[in-house]
Symmetry: C2
Subunit: 218 residues, 2 copies
DNA sequence: AACGTTATTTATCATTCGATAAACTGTTGG
DNA sequence: CCAACAGTTTATCGAATGATAAATAACGTT
């Protein structure tokens, strides 16, 4: 009855570093789906190991969660995006289109979005840090580049900083794009399939808007 | 040692309906802050009663949570908003400005936003229902009204339905405004204080955009 | 092939969880 | 004032939780 007994997976034994890396990457999947309140036992079941083994690699559940945050948040930003956004040989609109396509490719993943939302609700520090990153690396930069392109400034140094109102307009655009990802991957609502087109429209509307709204204060 | 023994609050006793209403409204505060995974014991502590008393009013924790959802989601929509949005004696822009100010007054509360996000992550049905409501009562209507105002149609019936792309543009605007609330009340980031102005800019930019983007497909 | 090292499991503990039953106490009508 | 009802607490259950210690089993070295 046991011809080719489906070989009970022959308890494979990983090196400490392999196991650790495997734990973290699968813990990301698990916690993204189940939330950080889920038990270490069900996590261990998902990992295919026993629960006490987790404590050989992480002092506590909280420490494991912190590592999950670190891994998820860090290195999400591609270094060449900085160069892309400030490449003044290209129209700003083109740069932003390319950037937002790449950026949303990176963060519009169910895992990332869910962990981002969970961490936001928990109020953990790393979430604030990330919001600051968006502000400085993307939104403020948009206005610097916009001023240079429109001839209001020649260098980054002399470009006047974005006003709070301008920044808010950029946030509304950015948030609108971000919310597209939430609707698609978290709410699982039907959305316009053509993500590039959604981005193009958002950028069009935004860039057209800041040209006028910032000069016609009332 | 017990002179004026701080009068242990003289165990007040509420009627069944009062107690029930009190439980639900305070449970909203509690779960919004602590998340739905929090224990019934800490909830009871927050309510100032013992934990088994909860089970006198709700068969299970899940039933209590469902009532919390119901109470939070229902009646959030003010009936006169329908009339406001379709009042063709006023410019669409004015109507939208007034609507979004009132709408955001209603939902930009820490409690509501947090419970909305929690329920979204949980994938509960009521969340989908709410997304559908936004779609039908607000966004699709914007295009109907836009077509009537711009002379493309005379009645609601003959106005062509919004295309998926148009709807997506409206979602980006709506999501951008919504995300302002998230940033302010969940992330507790600094935002532009002048909410009306943020709305005005979002609407300006959006209405200017749909006039052009929808006619110049490439 | 025997050894020692280390990854992994088994067994277990103290707490906390949702939930129930029974005891108690405030309130109301006669 | 007292009896009956309804609101509330005390006591407790079995299951699940995070965490630890001891036992086991796979691997590399000689």
């Amino acid at each position: 009855m046991n011809e080719t007994v489906k070989a009970q997976p022959k308890k494979k034994r990983l090196s400490s570093s392999e196991r650790r890396a495997d734990f973290i990457s699968k813990a990301i999947e698990f916690f993204a789906e189940e939330g950080f309140e889920s038990s270490t036992r069900s996590l261990a079941r998902y990992l295919g190991v026993t629960q006490p083994l987790l404590y050989r690699y992480f002092p506590s559940k909280d420490d494991l969660i912190k590592e999950v945050y670190q891994t998820v948040y860090l290195n999400r930003w591609q270094d060449d995006w900085d160069a892309l956004l400030t490449d003044r040989s290209r129209p700003l609109r083109d740069r932003l289109q390319e950037f937002y396509e790449a950026y949303t490719d990176a963060i519009f993943a169910r895992e990332w979005l869910r962990i981002f939302l969970f961490s936001g609700l928990k109020g953990v520090e790393i979430n604030r840090w990330y919001v600051g990153l968006v502000n400085e690396r993307i939104l403020e930069r948009i206005f610097t580049e916009y001023r240079i392109e429109s001839g209001q400034a020649n260098t980054q140094a002399e470009a006047p900083a974005a006003t709070p109102e301008e920044l808010e307009m950029a946030w509304v655009m950015h948030g609108g794009i971000f919310y597209y990802g939430i609707r698609k991957h978290i709410y699982e609502s039907p959305v316009l399939e053509d993500k590039s087109r959604m981005i193009a429209n958002a950028l069009d509307v935004f860039l057209k808007g800041i040209g006028e709204a910032t000069s016609s204060q009332n």
